[in-house]
């Protein structure tokens, strides 16, 4: 079809012009397809990004609230167990409410029970050596949190390295 059209016009159009038009057509078609593909990819990514954005906004909000929970926990643990139980209980309830809210949001605490340092989940800020332990261990200094397997804040840990007697 294209051939036919071109051959018809051959009479009044020099071959080099046809070649030029053909090339320009190809270029334009290419440009158009690229733009269309770019846009389609953009659209797809936007859909994905909007979904992710919801998570990011939540993560950012939760992240800014965590230091306040840290402080409430510090307050709670600084009250001696044998002191005025009503105040202690009250603060504990405030703390529990906050912790439960985090759970409702799908936020989980990072566990360090396996005692193995993992930079994906832990941030080391202190190193100590000890002769009294069998294996290296880690100690939690500040809780870390996860949302949908994404680290909102890594657990801040102290690393205790085992040293042999006499070293």
């Amino acid at each position: 079809m294209e051939e036919e059209l071109l051959s018809e016009k051959k009479n009044d159009m020099p071959a080099e012009d046809i070649e030029l038009v053909r090339r320009q057509y190809k270029e334009l078609e290419d440009k158009f397809l690229r733009l269309a593909a770019d846009f389609d990819n953009y659209r797809k990514r936007m859909v994905r990004e909007i979904e992710e954005l919801k998570d990011i906004i939540r993560v950012e909000l939760i992240r800014t609230l965590l230091p306040i929970l840290d402080d409430i926990e510090r307050a709670f643990y600084s009250i001696p167990e044998d002191s005025n139980t009503n105040i202690r209980e009250g603060i504990e309830m405030v703390m529990k409410n906050f912790q439960n809210w985090l759970l409702d949001q799908g936020v989980k605490t990072i566990e360090i029970s396996d005692n193995v340092f993992d930079p994906r989940y832990h941030e080391a800020i202190v190193i100590e050596e000890s002769k009294d332990i069998e294996e290296d261990k880690i100690e939690e200094l500040r809780k870390g949190y996860l949302l949908n397997d994404r680290v909102i804040r890594p657990t801040m840990v102290k690393i205790i390295k085992r040293v042999k007697e006499g070293e």
Binding site: K31, Y42, P67, R74, S78, H122, A124, I125, R142, M156
Partner: protein
């Protein structure tokens, strides 16, 4: 064709960007962050960690964690890990590889080509090493460009003719000044200077030191010995620094920062911007000398600098901006995110080299909104300003009066809510509309702006397919100044315009209600008490003849008429029982209906 990227391979942080639809955009890393720490770590079990993860384990593994490798580029420096030696380019390649792979994951495409930036003072060996790092990372390095050049590209200065610019780049740990001459798209570095150990981290440290000192004075406790407390101080100091860029003072509250046998101790200090600036004045002042040195090397007077660009996160501090303004006597440019500016410019250079920019169809936008006049002299926008053209948009309108057989389409351009305040582009009449009650005919009005900015407006009666059209040539042929003036005026009159529009809308609503009331008065004859109908008719006459100026007066009349309608309809429905449902006498369906000649209202 695979995407090309631009990489700002920094001393403390790196950033990667690409161009999409002609605009550079930063690509977040796998952890969701736009900045990737330039840190590499070799774990005991043979893994290589890059970025945030490498930093988190740095203290555990200090001799196997490499920070600021950029300082060693182009030297014979080697990193020795487990009897294997790594060159600085091999370490840098690990950072580049992570940036590349994260970008590939984000874009869902393979990336082969990149432009990487280096400081303007880098020598050939350093540039060569940077290029090699790219090659080791599996990148085809299209070009190594200077960081200040990238910044100038990000600001589009290459398109602004010949000029001399100074780039002031104060990052996390280094300070660079560069003077560039731009002409004919060529960038020439005239002079560079700086301080290789000055940056935002120094400012944080000053706040930390101050907090420790104050706490010691008050409580007698030295927090610098407590790692956990130090960590909290560090986070609080950075937060305070950032806040003081926008606020005049900030509160630093760290409860339970220490414990003694007398109980817990809290740190609570208010830090003002003035205090912060006083305690960091010498740091800011340290940038002054390198500026003068660069100026003197370039044999230039501060007045000969056409533009100053602020780059690097620390230039967000007002004291830094003041210093620059004081030296040059003019406002520096700082509208592009200073953390991302270099990477964005690198991405632009990459796209230009890959021929992508040339392929970009330059898209224009409509500088002002376009629309038509509707009932009550209201300007109804069809195409909002800043819409990318070519574009086509339709809306359905209807008649304002019973048996109205023609509508006038008045095409306008502008931002004011009332038609009379905007620029008239033309008008035409669509007639031959079959007689029907108001609100029934459907008239589709279509605005089409072609690639040349020519506006075609058509109106079509969907019942008969009768159509009229108008073409406005040079519809956007206003000068830049005229357009700016119109936008300014719209802003200046926003309040009063809003009131006028509300009044017009209220009046339209009242007109619609009168129409509804008249219909109801006819329909209800014989179905409800004649006294109620008489009352309704009386109220209609009163409302019709009343003076309808001022929104309060209109609302009062609307309420009065609603009351009369309500009395009739209540009795009507009470009598009709439950078998009949409402015919919606409220009038909201009619919205801005009624009126005189050819006005219309929006259906959707």
């Amino acid at each position: 064709m695979a995407k090309v990227i631009g990489i700002d391979l920094g001393t403390t942080n790196s950033v990667v960007a690409f161009v999409e639809g002609g605009k550079p955009t930063v690509i977040p890393n796998a952890e969701g962050s736009r900045l990737t720490p330039s840190a590499v770590a070799f774990t005991q079990d043979g893994q290589i960690l890059v970025g945030q993860l490498a930093k988190r384990q740095a203290i555990l593994n200090p001799e196997r964690t490499i920070l600021s490798i950029k300082r060693h580029m182009g030297t014979n420096y080697k990193v020795r890990i487990d009897n294997k030696e790594y060159t600085p380019q091999e370490i840098s390649a690990m950072i580049l590889r992570k940036l590349k792979e994260d970008a590939e994951a984000y874009l869902g495409e393979k990336i082969e080509k990149a432009v990487i930036t280096v400081p303007a003072y880098f020598n050939d060996a350093q540039r060569q090493a940077t290029k090699e790092a790219g090659i080791i990372a599996g990148l085809d390095v299209m070009r190594i460009i200077n960081e200040p050049t990238a910044s100038a590209l990000a600001y589009g200065l290459d398109k602004e003719g010949s000029q001399t610019i100074l780039v002031y780049d104060l990052g996390g740990g280094t300070f660079d000044v560069s003077i560039l001459e731009i002409g004919e798209g060529v960038f020439e570095v005239k002079a560079t200077s700086g301080d290789t150990h000055l940056g935002g981290d120094d400012y944080d440290q000053r706040i930390i030191d101050y907090l420790i000192e104050e706490f010691k004075k008050k409580e007698g406790i030295d927090l610098s010995q407590d790692r956990m407390a130090l960590q909290r101080l560090k986070e609080a100091a950075e937060k305070a620094k950032i806040e003081l860029s926008t606020l005049m003072s900030t509160e630093i509250n760290l409860p339970f920062i220490a414990a003694t046998q007398h109980g817990p101790k809290h740190l609570s200090i208010t830090l003002t911007r003035a205090q912060f600036e006083a305690m960091t004045r010498d740091l800011t002042e340290r940038t002054r000398e390198p500026i003068y040195r660069a100026l003197s090397d370039a044999k230039l007077d501060p007045s000969k600098i056409d533009k100053i660009l602020l780059v690097g996160g620390s230039t967000r501090m007002p004291a830094v901006q003041r210093l620059v303004k004081e030296i040059f006597g003019k406002e520096p440019r700082k509208d592009i995110n200073p953390d991302e500016c270099v990477a964005l410019g690198a991405a632009i250079q990459a796209a230009v080299l890959a021929g992508e920019i040339r392929d970009i169809v330059l898209l224009d936008v409509t500088p002002l909104s376009l629309g038509i006049e509707t009932l009550g002299g209201i300007f109804t926008k069809i195409i909002e300003r800043n819409t990318t053209i070519p574009v086509s948009k339709s809306e359905i309108f209807t008649t304002a009066a019973d048996n109205q057989t023609s509508v006038e389409i008045h095409v306008l351009q502008g931002e004011r809510p009332m038609a009379a305040d905007n620029l008239s582009l033309g008008r035409f009449i669509l007639d031959g509309i079959p007689p029907a009650p108001r609100g029934v005919p459907k008239i589709q009005v279509t605005f089409d702006i072609d690639a040349n900015g020519i506006v075609h407006v058509s109106a079509k009666d969907l019942a008969t397919n009768r159509e009229q059209r108008i073409t406005v040539k040079g519809g956007t042929g206003l000068s830049k100044e005229e357009i700016e003036r119109m936008i300014r005026e719209a802003q200046a009159h926003a309040e009063e315009d809003k009131r006028r529009r509300e009044e017009a809308e209220a009046r339209n609503q009242l007109d619609g209600l009168i129409y509804t009331a008249e219909k109801l008065a006819k329909d209800a004859v014989g179905k409800v008490g004649q006294d109620l109908i008489d009352n309704l008719n009386k109220t209609i006459e009163e409302v019709k003849s009343a003076d309808k100026t001022g929104i309060d007066k209109i609302k009062e009349l609307t309420n009065k008429l609603n009351d009369a309608i309500y009395k009739v309809s209540t009795e009507l429905y009470a009598k009709a029982g439950t078998q009949q449902t409402s015919s919606n006498p409220s009038g909201e369906q009619q919205n801005p209906g009624g009126g005189t000649i050819d006005t219309d209202y929006k259906v959707q």
